[in-house]
């Protein structure tokens, strides 16, 4: 697909407007204004401590849980501010799901892990729950590996399987946006590639934002890439452009690995 010419048909799903975040006196995110496209994969790259994870956690208000955090500016999901008083945070985190670096299966069966979210959101019917669990596991390309052990503990799965199960858990509540904070950094190369294939499949139905330290991963799977440095977005463009001819020397130095 030629992303450049298709741009007119793509909508912004989630965007930030002059977003600033402070941890006490520390200005962690500075005037960030980015539009993230619907049903595309946006990669966030940058050195450690540049604000990528802080940014991604702001998108579903996970930073609300940190004492001393102050936010100015706005984050809009489908044009509506997520900081609006009328915004239900639980509902927000259903629409904007998150997968973390370390797989975090709940200490329960595979089935109950996936069914947990729908149950919290009011799904009681056993048949409906079974349908949701199967669909989510199929969407996460895990069904065939676990269908005969749904009642067994999720802690017995391999690392790559656990992470795919965490993705299935997010999908079970039918999100619109999926946030991924270094989802493969704790996994072996083969599991990593399986997850990348899965992410590529998912983008036809979900908007995906992924933090990654792996430059090659960002190049392989993302449509657009944002380079963060010291809390700012230095450059944000189609991945092809960023990786072939970035505009900013700081971006060029980072992606070519030149640090003095």
């Amino acid at each position: 697909m030629d992303l450049a010419t298709d741009d007119n048909k793509i909508c912004t799903r989630i965007c930030t407007n002059n977003l600033n975040l402070f941890y006490g006196d520390v200005h962690a995110l500075k005037n960030i204004t980015v539009d993230m496209d619907e049903k595309r994969i946006t990669a966030l790259i940058g050195p450690s401590g540049c604000g990528k994870s802080t940014f991604i956690k702001t998108l579903n208000r996970m930073n609300d849980l940190i004492p001393g955090v102050r936010i100015t500016g706005d984050v809009l999901l489908d044009g509506t501010s997520i900081f609006d008083k009328s915004c239900d945070v639980v509902e927000l985190r259903k629409k904007v799901g998150m997968v973390f670096q370390k797989p975090n299966p709940f200490p329960m069966s595979v089935f109950d892990n996936i069914a947990y979210g729908p149950r919290v959101h009011g799904v009681k019917s056993k048949e409906r729950l079974a349908e949701i669990v199967e669909k989510s596991l199929r969407d996460a390309v895990l069904w065939d590996e676990v269908k005969d052990r749904l009642k067994q503990s999720a802690l017995g799965l391999s690392g790559g399987q656990q992470q795919r199960m965490c993705i299935a858990r997010v999908l079970a509540v039918e999100p619109e946006v999926v946030l991924m904070d270094e989802p493969t950094s704790a996994l072996d190369p083969i599991s990593t590639l399986k997850i990348e294939d899965l992410i590529d499949e998912l983008k036809s139905n979900y908007t995906i934002i992924i933090v990654t330290h792996n430059m090659q991963q960002a190049g392989r799977i993302s449509d657009k890439t944002a380079f963060f440095l010291h809390g700012e977005v230095v450059e944000y463009d189609f991945t092809e452009k960023i990786f072939n001819k970035p505009e900013d020397k700081r971006t060029e130095d980072y992606i070519t690995g030149r640090f003095g």
């Binding site: 430059m215 090659q216 990786f243 072939n244 070519t256 690995g257 640090f259 003095g260």
Partner: protein, 233 residues
């Protein structure tokens, strides 16, 4: 010290190899035309044999580039530098092939008196050689303006090419005894014209290396071969 300094050293080695190959290519053009002008068969044989050395250069640099891609995952400017090198060595190798082709014809015409004094062919050879020299210089200096000048010169080479061909055609029409040699000179003229084309390609890859845009500079100058080419109506 910057990180990736060993990668930077390897890129610098690549750059030096490209310069060495370019020097050999320029020498091969010089010697092939000198051999033709002076009917120096030994020199022509040397040009012919020297082509193997240039082919080895191409293979060595190609291996180096592929190795760098496999091991270093180059991006942005690094990727463009290596890609441009891969493309440029092909053009340089073809230029050297054409020098060898000219040398081969010189050897074949060893004991013949030329049907006419060589005036325009050496002139065209000088123009082609200057273009090759400038294109390699542009690569060495990463000079976009110089690279664009190389492309602009191609028009003049093409004009001279058409003039020489017409001259030779008229010569053949007036004296059938000249046909054999005239055909050989036509081949030589064509090889020189192709050398100039390859120099233009090198110029375009220099521009790509610096700007990230691979433009067909000839088209940009709105050059239309058909307007000036008497053989295509």
């Amino acid at each position: 010290m910057l990180t990736r300094h060993s990668f930077d050293e390897e890129l610098h080695d690549l750059y030096l190899e490209m310069i060495s190959m370019g020097t050999c290519v320029e020498e091969s053009i010089d010697n092939s035309i000198l051999a033709l002008k002076k009917q120096d068969i030994e020199l022509a044989i040397a040009v012919f044999k020297n082509d193997d050395i240039i082919d080895e250069f191409e293979q060595k640099i190609e291996r180096k580039c592929l190795n760098l891609i496999a091991r270093q995952s180059p991006l942005a400017k690094d990727l463009r530098t290596i890609t441009a090198a891969l493309k440029i060595i092909t053009d340089m190798e073809r230029i050297a092939d054409h020098s060898a082709d000219i040398a081969e014809i010189t050897i074949r015409m060893a004991n013949q008196k030329y049907i006419k004094p060589l005036v325009h062919i050496p002139q065209m050879a000088e123009m082609a050689k200057r273009m090759v020299n400038k294109s390699i210089d542009a690569y060495v200096r990463q000079d976009v303006e110089l690279a664009k000048q190389v492309c602009a010169s191609d028009d003049d080479v093409d004009d001279l090419f058409n003039k020489i061909i017409l001259e030779l055609v008229n010569l053949m029409k007036s004296d059938v005894g000249t046909i054999e040699q005239a055909v050989d000179f036509m081949f030589i003229t064509k090889y020189l014209e192709r050398m100039a084309d390859h120099a233009t390609n090198i110029g375009e890859w220099v521009v790509y290396n610096v700007s990230g845009e691979h433009e067909h500079l000839a088209q940009q100058l709105h050059r239309d071969d058909r307007k000036n080419n008497p053989f295509v109506r």
